[in-house]
Amino acid sequence: MAGKAAPVVGVLALQGAFREHRQRLESLGAAGREVRLPADVDGLAGLVLPGGESTTMTRLLDSFDLWEPIAALHARGGALWGTCAGAILLAADVLGAPPQDGGHQRSFGVLDVTVQRNAFGRQVDSFTTPLDVRGLDAPFEAVFIRAPTFVRVGSDVDVLADYAGHAVLVRQGRVLASAFHPELTGDARLHRAFLEMLVPELTR
């Protein structure tokens, strides 16, 4: 009915580059909300899981019981976008998890990919590159920082960009995942694409 209300999009604000995502989403007309506790998920049309450290975010998702409400958001039609560490949190399988955890890392499993953490090496190997992205008419300046790659991609997953033989931008239904950091550039095209994934009924 009130079609003019801006959709409320959450940004997981446990740690990492959440402020940049929120500012970018708000500059595009969405209402941003930082998510730190389960109650913050109520009423969201979508959620961005930012870059940062996936192990840290995993611990804090455990401590503050956030796994279930975020999974429920997806189940009721909410869109999810993970960038770098956030993409790791969405994947079905995670390679390169801390040895102390037996190589296992908990994840939402809403994206049928196997993600390899730190696939390009350490910080001295981090890089930027112009990336050809399906659906965009000009290359996207992609910032890869200790970045993961999607080394296995399920048949229901669309690969929107790849680099050095591995998928780095993928989409499965209402789930988008990028191995790089769109929030660190001035380019808003992927944030716009994410907002277009929001389901109208959920955006009030």
Binding site: G16, L37, G96, R122, F127, I145
Partner: protein, 296 residues
């Protein structure tokens, strides 16, 4: 792929952004590094002795043994930082060769050069440097630092100096914002800071890099206080491994940095952590024992 670039300020400053809202913990063994990772640290700082022990032992404190750093790198998946002495270019080259993710040019170690800092733009690996005031912070950024932290008074368990440095830097930023543009060259002269960076601060109201708290953080409340003051994240050293229950305290400090605006959560996580590190009254330190005065 010829347009792929590495080692740029964008990459190194962007990497530092990823630590925001997080806690970087000093560790001296692979076992401590695993505890820090399990507690939710966003990175570990590998060093031979935590600041409280450096302070107690005296003598010359230097870069850590590369073997220990390699063992810590192998023990965890989170980024590994390590410290070099102020001005010690070769220690920094060695750490870069080891694949350390971030170098701390640190006043906690004994300075190798009493006049000059490392030219950090010569390196691909990013650097963090301490600063007591805005001029010092902008000189370090001018040399290529990708991250700034307060100096605090490391190894004391007393947060007062970190608070002083945070308030000084943030207050000086606000003061610059209120100045008319034509006064900025004189501001730069008075701060002994690069003019272009003074202009950046005037325009944006913040440093061009992230700004963390360090030095004397011992409790979850201390960590939250530094976030409330307006810093981006927290370094913790002796405060954890000189307390009764490092695991619980480390976890609590991580949670405190995330939930610094939520006193209900802070009350809950601050409960029953065991004794914090004893701490030192900074007023009783003789000037030669004060680490924060190192750096030029």
């Amino acid at each position: 792929m010829s347009e792929t670039t590495t080692g740029t300020p964008q990459l190194n400053r962007g990497f530092a952004q990823m630590f925001k809202g997080g806690v970087i913990m000093d560790v001296v063994t692979p076992e401590q590094a695993r505890i820090a990772e399990a507690a939710g640290a966003t990175a570990v700082m590998a060093l031979e002795r935590v600041p409280a022990d450096i302070r107690r032992d005296g003598g010359v404190a230097r870069m850590s043994d590369p073997k220990m750093i390699k063992e810590i790198i192998a023990a965890v998946t989170i980024p590994v930082m390590a410290k070099v002495r102020i001005g010690h270019v070769v220690e920094a080259q060695i750490l870069q060769a080891l694949g350390v993710d971030f170098i701390d040019e640190s006043e906690v170690l004994t300075p190798a050069d009493d006049q000059f800092h490392i030219l950090k733009t010569d390196f691909r690996v990013p650097f963090v440097c301490g600063a007591k005031n805005l001029g010092e912070a902008l000189r370090r950024v001018g040399e290529g630092a990708s991250m700034i932290r307060t100096k605090g008074e490391a190894g004391t368990g007393n947060v007062v100096e970190a608070v002083r440095h945070a308030r000084t830097v943030l207050g000086e930023i606000r003061a610059i914002q209120s100045r008319p543009t034509e006064e900025l060259m004189t501001v730069a002269r008075d701060l002994q800071a690069p003019y272009e960076l003074v202009k950046y601060v005037h325009e944006h109201g913040r440093l061009p890099v992230v700004n963390f708290a360090a030095g004397g953080v011992a409790t979850p409340a201390d960590a939250a206080l530094m976030m409330v003051l307006g810093l981006d994240g927290v370094f913790v050293g002796s405060g954890i491994f000189k307390s009764d229950n490092p695991e619980r305290r480390a976890q609590a400090i991580v949670k405190a940095v995330t939930h610094y605006q939520n006193p209900d959560v802070l009350a809950e996580i601050s409960e029953d952590l065991g004794a914090p590190m004893t701490g030192i009254n900074i007023d009783e330190l003789i000037p030669a024992e004060r680490l924060a005065s190192r750096g030029w």
